[in-house]
Subunit: 307 residues, 2 copies
Amino acid sequence: MSFDHLQDQIRSLKNPTVAGLDTRVEYMPSFLLKKYTSRYGETLEAAAQAVLEFDCGLIDALTGVVPAVKPQAAYFECLGWRGMQVMEQVMGYAKEKGMFVIADIKRGDIGTTAAAYSEGWLGMTRVGSTDCPVFNADCVTLNGYMGSDAVKPFLRDCITQNKSAFVLAKTSNPSSVELQDMVAGDRLVYTAMGDLIQRWGADTIGKYGYTSLGAVIGATHPSVLKELRRRLDKTFFLVPGYGAQGGTAADVSCAFDELGRGAIVNASRSILCAWQKTGKDGRDYQEAARAAAEKMRDEILEYVTIM
Amino acid sequence: MSFDHLQDQIRSLKNPTVAGLDTRVEYMPSFLLKKYTSRYGETLEAAAQAVLEFDCGLIDALTGVVPAVKPQAAYFECLGWRGMQVMEQVMGYAKEKGMFVIADIKRGDIGTTAAAYSEGWLGMTRVGSTDCPVFNADCVTLNGYMGSDAVKPFLRDCITQNKSAFVLAKTSNPSSVELQDMVAGDRLVYTAMGDLIQRWGADTIGKYGYTSLGAVIGATHPSVLKELRRRLDKTFFLVPGYGAQGGTAADVSCAFDELGRGAIVNASRSILCAWQKTGKDGRDYQEAARAAAEKMRDEILEYVTIM
């Protein structure tokens, strides 16, 4: 089961973090964008090519430090099909480098539509009698508002293709309270969603005791992390919101089990934009990102011992 | 405000329906796929080119009959970047033909990420000092599980770009009950989501009395449609689930106000796959789709008079 593979890589690098590739055009050093706008004009093609160079440069710099990357689809989609082409290339490059790739797509749709999304992101799309790999991620993020119909097609591909998925439970943003914190019987909506996630994944427990269907729980709610870690004892957690959004190392330590397993913490901007704090023009973006990733790892390892 | 534009087109064609372009490879006549696999092999490129021809053929056949099309992103994404390129082309073609284009993407993410999605699908992406249009839909579908953070960036583009969006409230699929029908205080979760949608859109009321932020309410729940039509009196409805999923003309009539306005009903498979029922080899897919769309329109107009 595929979180086994991720947990193996976390243990081998002694680093339970994932670098989010949220490459907004403005997050890149301007010399890099200019390199391509001078060739292609101020076009989506120029931006996409700059993102390709920047993200692959980040992956080079982070190889051997972080076990996983999480490209965020929005920042590729906003560059149109050229952005999606670059997303395929970036994901392929990260896999070549041995990284675990979580496609942050937060898709949620039903029946044959969910199956099509799953074929595109985890499985393969059949054309005639040929199965064609498409984005081929190791793992995706999903939105379960529509219920199990939206998740089960992905779960099938998780089992047959040895992959995994995270479903949103309690997200890190301020307005997550509006729906997720409503009282529903003896639970809150996010607890109910967490219970569904653990139940849907129940038949897919791997060697570390976790299913193939994880949950997204924001770092900005440490008491929620603690409560859900106890309650969802077979559910692997993806924890966004570290750093820029306010989550601390002490906060996220609540997401791990007593063996320091069962969770991975994401940081995006603090790694991508680390070059903005060195007072240079961004030509040091790789070293700055690597140093920021090492710092985050070390901060978390003060609170978490990975067995 | 943009549902005004859609409502104008519905009134002018006397047809409150939208054709969903859910073009799964198997839904196309085999002669069409073969035309391209013989040129490109059994590849994503072949499938994407076949989808382009099929969808544009459908748009030609439906022009003058249906006011809107709703391309479903999953069926383009599962063909990779070539699929996304075709999605851009199909959307552009439908707009050239005067159709209102609803991109069925069900995206939901927060802050700068939601802003990036919105730039890509409704607004424009800035590269240097140039604003570049990307997918440029008239309208999108969204998932509001993360709360207003996930919706407000789109709402901004709705206002500045004269566009609109539908947020999922009560979906048409069987497992929608698992989360959406939980009791939350004196409401159900989907009612609470509906209330949020109407509140978020409150400042964007157009000439027909509806905001720019609509709600998705499945045709498979006529009593819910009736209840929410009363409760959400300023919220435009997108009603999926007609036909193949079981919703009837009498069912969907509950979605309209007393002037026959405020809703649009979607059908996908019954139009796309109409050619499978004529006993020919699919070369009549255009006529079959047009006849199915006209039949659906006529069935609904038996229950709804559009003023």
